[in-house]
């Protein structure tokens, strides 16, 4: 029953607390939210349909654009699917480089997430640090791939170029620079009492609910479930390196941010191991002539652990030079539409942005 005090409130797409092209329509009574409905579609570019009209190689520059924050896992999942359908082998060294790129991308993405979250809660200093450190990593990407954001680097058959001379040292230096700031990050943000007060018990989700609603990534791990595609179904060289899956028990925003923090440290460990174990050799097995490349009839589903959770790709080939059907399973889809709506119920208006960003929703992933 609608009461007289009930009010409809539009949160985004033009809203100071909204990150990304996304909007939530809230039904509020005072400061309490009675009902929230996510309202995506501001960024819909029809990628999945467009990809049906482009050749296998032409889709590469496009696929990374689905997720601005972490393009590499998008490239990886598409490359894996194409390789599986076309039965292309990837050289060992390329797999190591891919892993390094993916972990660097995870770091970039998590730092971006830290920026968004800290910024949202008003921790501007930390936000600036995170952004700065992310930029240092983008410099590395620029050196490796030639571009800062859309790398177009991982592609079928391996990677596009070998790592440049001295790249390893520069990566380790940069990681050291960022790593040496961890105490500052901890003091100022993760172990800040104000942050604790602001994030603890906000957007809490239980183990069972998280499972039921299709949560993956940090949301699932912060609720206490040790689930990571890198362990469950290892790709690239994740079965050859040692790393932990950080988890927390409480399932609230505070736990999720701590999981992200711990994951970053694990990523650094993975990168260091990859550099150590990386063999010499080729990094690219040539794919057929792009103007004549047809992939045998078949369909496949591949998945990787992106920085926000399970990223899957269902790819169908009809034996033609273009995909017949492309469908992405992006982690932000259940997070941003189903879980967000659920968690916003009975939250206060001041926590909308807080909850949304703690769920790590990236709008471009929802509107593909």
């Amino acid at each position: 029953m609608k009461t007289e005090r009930e009010l409809e409130l539009y949160f985004g797409p033009q809203h100071i607390g909204m990150v990304g092209n996304f909007s939530i329509t809230l039904k509020v009574e005072g400061d309490r939210i009675i009902e929230a409905s996510a309202n995506p579609g501001y960024l819909h570019r029809g990628f999945e349909k467009l990809m049906e009209y482009r050749t296998w190689i032409q889709n590469f520059p496009m696929v990374c654009r689905i997720n601005v924050i972490e393009p590499d896992s998008m490239e990886m999942v598409y490359a894996m699917a194409v390789e599986k359908l076309a039965k292309i082998e990837v050289p060992e060294r390329a797999n190591y480089i891919r892993t390094i790129v993916l972990e660097l991308a995870r770091l970039t993405s998590h730092l971006f997430g830290c920026w968004a979250y800290a910024n949202m809660l008003g921790f501007d200093t930390v936000a600036q640090w995170a952004m700065y450190h992310r930029d240092l990593l983008l410099d590395l990407f620029e050196e490796l791939t030639g571009a800062r954001v859309y790398h177009i680097y991982i592609w079928p058959g391996g990677v596009r170029r070998d790592i440049p001379k001295g790249f390893k040292d520069r990566v380790l230096n940069t990681l050291h620079t960022i790593g040496s700031c961890i105490p500052d990050y901890d003091n100022t943000f993760f172990n800040n009492r104000l942050f604790y007060k602001r994030a603890k018990n906000i957007g809490k989700i239980s183990k069972d609910e998280a499972k039921k609603l299709g949560a993956t990534g940090q949301i699932l791990r912060a609720a206490g479930i040790k689930y990571d595609i890198r362990k469950v179904e290892p790709y690239a060289v994740y079965d050859k390196v040692n790393f932990e899956i950080p988890t927390r028990e409480d399932g609230d925003a505070y736990s999720r941010v701590w999981v992200i923090r711990d994951e970053m440290i694990q990523s650094v460990h993975i990168i260091m191991q990859c550099f150590e174990k990386m063999p010499q050799g080729e990094v690219y097995n040539r794919v057929p002539n792009p103007f004549k490349w047809k992939i045998p009839k078949g369909e496949t589903y591949v998945r990787v652990e992106s920085s926000r959770g399970e990223l899957g790709l269902y790819l169908v080939s009809n034996g033609e030079d273009k995909p017949y059907r492309v469908h992405f399973r992006t982690p932000s889809y259940p997070h941003g539409l189903i879980i967000l709506e659920k968690l916003l119920k009975n939250a206060s208006i001041a926590d909308v942005g807080n909850i949304m960003i703690s769920l790590y929703v990236v709008a471009p992933e929802i509107d593909r």
Binding site: F60, P61, G146, R193, R248
Partner: protein, 622 residues
Amino acid sequence: MRNKLQVKKGSFLRPFKAIRYLFEKPGTLRYPFEQKEPSPRYRGFHLNDWDKCTGCGNCADICPNEAITMVEITEIKPKPGEKNERPKIDYGRCCFCGLCVDICPPGSLRLSRDYFHIHFDKKTFTLLAKDEKTDKEHFLSAEKYSIFQASLMHRKENNEGFVSDLKYSLFEPERVPMPQVPPEKRKLSFIEQVLGYSQQEAKKEASRCLECKLCEDACPAHLKISDYIRAIYEDKPDESLRKIFEDNPLPAICGRICMAHCEEVCSLGKRGKPVAVRWLKRYASDMIKDYKKALELKPIKPTGKKVAVIGAGPGGLSVAYFLKLKGYEVTVFDSLPGGGGMMRIGPPLYRLPIESIDKDVNYIASLGVKFKFNTTVGKDISFEEIYKNYDAVYLGIGTTVSRSTHVKNSDKAYSALPFLKENKIGKGVKVGREIIVIGGGNVAMDVAREALRLQHIQYPGEKVVTKTVSLEDWDIMPATKEEIEEAKAEGIQFNPGWGPKEIKVEDGKVKGLLCMKVKSVFDEQGRFRPTFYEEKEMFLEGDMVIEAIGQVPDFSFIPKELFDKLEFTPRKKVKIDENGKTSLPKVFAGGDIVNLNLDAVTAIADAKRAAEGIDLYLKGDK
């Protein structure tokens, strides 16, 4: 159950530790006074080397955003087999993915490390990619360059970023190796040297073609090369054969001995190996046992007119084929016992077996073309009779008389054509142990390699030598590189840069060849006019000398009163109009007596033109 990581409530005071960052240097750049130096691999604006660019348009084809259009530049005079089109890039669409760089066969298209483009006019965002070589005005040295200059459309020179690397290119630069009989084995017999691609190899080789069609412009007969290669890739050899037959009715012959002008211009050949167009044509013809079934010919409506073709060489066969399809009654006269003309007697068996020639000839005969073999025009039948009884006459007589060096005792030397003919369709020649071949062209290579085989057959296990002497040095030797390499591998010795002076004869037997050093082969106008250092001599020992220095046509069968009316060009070729018609009424001509290429595919091209011309002429005659 609690996690081992205890949840800490955190501190109020510790965040203030961050205050020390107030006294540290900022991490940001003070733009525009400080600028970011892009990385060496940066993907910025395009650079294009116009000298290297072939205008193939592969960049425009692969661009996922259709940002690249090929624009015709009238100032560029394209080299043969290239186009004067250059890529123009719309930076409103470009996503800087660099696929265009990775597909660029000559490697002319690159991305620079430039990322400034400041302008109030949106039209400037679509521009022709150039580099400092072609656009000196807009490319400035690093000292002169600034952001202010960038706003005036200036770029920095020597600022290459993401460049093409063959190791990571999207095309395959290496050719599928053609299985061949190894030199040690093949020089002992006349078995066909090239074994031909298997289905898998042909498909793989066909898959390399980028379909830029530069080859189709370069081919004298303009075969639809990219179409028939695509058909092979798609495993449809009959479709491929249909495409070939549109312009060339001799795939088995051309698939073996074509000069492959297409491969010379193939864009993949700029940095790698060109697509094996010739071998793929051969594959298509070899795969089809019965042309007739594969070609699905439509019924031909006869016109009732008669055409005589003199010479059953590639040109004569082709004109007969094209005219037969148009419904004319064609009779082909040739003095040889079978079809093929020079193909029948010239290319040695290890390059072109008789069965392959007969495959093409028999198909043309099966369409109803009448062949009169062993009939020499001027001897067995007079030219006047033909001229009187037919509605049109095509002269495809080729060059059939070997030239001689006319040095002292040159009458003791063998000529190339009788030598080749005798070995291919005659009884064979008894050769010497030490043979000297004069000439540096493909015929000389054929002669030398054939002589070597004969030596090995006639003197098994003995020491035998075949050497060549040519006026031209290595760099200008007219024979194809492939032929020279194969000849070298078989053990032929080369003496480039020497000219014959005298054949030494003792007691009526050849003892060797006295040579003199060549000063120059061509004069200032580029005409063939060799000069020598008379005093610099070299003596080559040998017991047999074969001259292979070119051929001339024989027009003796044409009666004088008609021959006088036949006009020639300054380069002593028969003069024809755009329809292939000579100055003699109802006489058309083509092939070696008309063109300067002197090869089969050009003869086919001439024949196609003449067939159209004869058709027009006879229709207009009605």
